[in-house]
Every structure is written in C-alpha cells, then in structure tokens.
Amino acid sequence: MKLKLAVFVAAAGLLVTLPAMAHHSFSAEFDGNKPVRLVGKLVKLEWTNPHSYFYIAVADDKGVVSNWGCEGGGPGALSRAGMKKGDLKIGDTIVVDGYLAKDGSHLIDARRVTLPDGRNIYGGSPGDGGPPEGAVTSKK
C-alpha cells in the first residue's frame, strides 16, 4: 500500500510538470525573499501576452481596500496549467500566492492562483527561473 502511495506521489509530481517559455527572468522582476498571499475580489482580468494579469481589490483587517496586480503566464501557459479564461468572473474572490515586485509597486508574481472552486493552478511563467509548478501547487 505504501509502495503504491509512493509511486502515486512520484507520478503526480511528473504529471504536474508544465514547462513553458519565459518572457523574462523571474528574478529580474520579483523578490524571491518576499512571498505574498493576496485574497481579494477580481476587478479586472487581462488574458493577454506576454503575461496575463489578475487585478484584485484586497481589503485589510480594517476594511481599507487596496488594488493589486498579479502577473501570471500567458494564455497558453495558463491553459496548459488547467485554467481557462471562463474560470473567472469579475467579482469572484480569488487567492493569489506569489512574490512581490522588486520595484515596490503593488505587483506580484502570480505563482499560484486558487480559484473560487478551490482548485489551485500554477500561474507562473514556466522556464523563468521561478519556483516550478511541482513545488507550489497541489491538484485536487
């Protein structure tokens, strides 16, 4: 039983490998020492190249709202990772885990996106030198 589990986990690690091209190096734009989790309502979705963007309104504990941009892979990479444009609607609450931009702006790398249905999707640009899919997502 344990052997089956071990093989399953190893196989799962391979299945979630979705490499793709990169438009630029992850570390040229984002700070690998500043991980972030944003929980907010989707206010705008740009399903574009070379990157897709999720713009979300994030409320703090006092109810003060700030707007953030989340940079994901292009439509091809996101589609291969299991996300379709129709998975998201304006007003949906999503969770985006990633890394803060080095320039200090309200921009993060959307390395993991948790959709309203609970699925977490690899949102990064594979091949950019950032954390790979197998290291950041768990398939449900």
Binding site: A28, P35, P50, G76, D103, R111
Partner: protein, 289 residues
C-alpha cells in the same frame, strides 16, 4: 519504505525542476504523448526531413546557458567579453522582454520549442512570440557586405545527412547570446550542424566563434524530441508588455545559480495552499498594505 517514498518524491520533483526550465511554447510541453519511433523521414530529394514540432528532451542542462558543455559552465571571455557581460547584467533589460528576436545562439540554447518547416530551398524555423528565421539552401554564398540581423545572414547546405547553417553578420550587443545575459559581438560566426537520427529526435552541434568576446570557439550540443500534432501559436509579445512599459523589470537576468541556471538558490516558500488549516487570509511583508 520511507526512504523509497522520499527518493521517488525527490526524483519526481527533480524532474519537474529540469522540465520546468524548458519550454512548452506554442502548445508545447505540457501533458504530451510519447516520442515517435521509426526511421528518419526523407524529403522527395532524399535528404532527411526535419519538418515537425520540436521540444527539448530534458537533458540540455543548465538550460539557457551557452556554456553548458564547458567545465564549470565557465565561458572563455576576453577582456572585452567580460566587460560586455558585466554591462548586460548591470545595464540592459533582457532584449527578449523588449520583444526583440532572441536570435542565434539564444534560440538554440533557450527554453523554446519550435516548429521547423523544410520546403525545398528554404528551411523555416518558427519560434515563440512570432519570431522566425528562413534559411536559404540554394547554393548561394555569403554576401560581401550583409546587413546585420538578429539571426545573422544564414546559409544552409547539406553535408551528407547533416544540415549545416553557417551564419555571420549579427547585431552586436543589442541582444544576449543566452538567457544568462552572456554577450556576443558583431564578429559572431556560428555553425549549426543539424541531424535527425530517427523519427523522434533532432540533434544540434553548435560552434560559437566570437573572437572579440571569447578567446576560443564554444561548442554546444543538445537534442530535441518530436511532438506530433503541436504547432507554433500566435503570441503577440507587445500586446500587454507592462513589465517594460511600466518599468517593473530590472536589468540583467537576476542571480545565476551555481548550477548555471538563472534564479534564486533558495527562494522563500509560498504560504501553503489554502486548506482548513491554512485559511485564505492576506499575508503581506511588513510595511505593505
């Protein structure tokens, strides 16, 4: 059993890392079928037919580094080459992020899968972000004063079953030679020797000769595997390139790991995926709101 579990999991993650460093552009390397087997297909004129969609075989590591086959991945820079490399790292934004063509040797060393179309006297490479090159194979020679381009003036020829591309007249320091911001000069001369030993594999032996920036020619080789049914797709690089237009992107490739790839050695882990024990609550570094 515990050790076996750990080994298998580690192996799967290691393979994930290797593969993530490669590309799947244009529908490329996601969940994919087996590599075709069988003999090398031939064109009507009897040459090997390289037509197809090609993705990395997972062994070209460190990926995106023209020094991958050198001891310690150490490039033989001249003094001018060393200075050009430092300039790239400290003062230039990645030319590909500006939507300029990657050119050669970067496309040969990089992440991207590509589509290859062999059509009589023209061999066409279709890369990501709408980049392409057409290699004439009609017996012509290099021009006397060719205009510099990102892919250079390319001349194709056959040496038996080997397709040879001899290229000169490259743009100078306007581009990077690989993902790590290694430079090339306008003195660059590349010789690519392409073979298709069977239906499923495409192999490249590349010589990079740039006496301005490197004290000796650099030899580089790698293999791609066929990915039937895939094709290069539209990717409009300038559609929404706010990394550059909004100034988010810094100079150079960022840190280079000891294994010769770009990226942080030990990035801080992301919060664990949302679950009952890890609620969906915003987590920001101190000072941000």
């Amino acid at each position: 059993m515990r050790r076996l579990f750990i080994k298998l999991f580690a192996a799967s993650l290691a393979l994930s890392f290797c593969a993530w460093a490669q590309d799947g552009q244009g529908g490329g390397r996601g969940r994919r079928g087996p590599v075709p087997t069988g003999p090398t297909p031939k064109t009507a004129d009897g040459h090997p037919d390289f037509t197809g969609y090609w993705r990395d075989d997972g062994n070209a590591n460190p990926h995106g580094n023209i020094g991958k086959d050198l001891p310690g991945f150490k490039l033989p820079f001249t003094k001018a080459g060393e200075a050009a490399h430092s300039y790239n790292v400290e003062h230039t934004v990645d030319p590909e992020s500006l939507c300029l063509p990657g050119g050669i040797p970067r496309e040969d060393a990089g992440d991207g899968s590509f589509q290859l179309v062999q059509n009589g006297p023209d061999t066409v490479f279709l890369y990501q972000y709408g980049t392409f090159r057409v290699v004439p194979t009609d017996g012509r020679k290099h021009s006397e004063d060719p205009d510099p381009t990102y892919f250079g003036e390319e001349i194709g020829s056959w040496d038996g079953d080997t397709f040879v591309i001899d290229s000169i007249a490259f743009k100078d320091t306007k581009t990077w030679a690989d993902e790590n911001a290694d430079p090339h000069s306008d003195a660059l001369h590349t010789i690519e020797r392409w073979t298709r030993p069977d239906a499923g594999h495409l192999h490249l032996e590349l010589t990079i000769d740039d006496p301005k920036f490197y004290t000796q020619p650099i030899h580089f080789q790698r293999t791609w595997v066929a990915s039937p049914g895939q094709h290069t797709r539209e990717q409009a690089c300038s559609e929404n390139n706010i990394d550059v237009s909004a100034g988010h992107l810094g100079f150079g490739p960022g840190p280079i790991r000891a294994d010769g790839t770009r990226g942080y050695d030990n990035p801080a882990p992301l919060p664990p995926p949302v679950s009952k024990t890890n609620p969906a609550k915003t987590i920001l570094p101190p000072g941000f709101h």
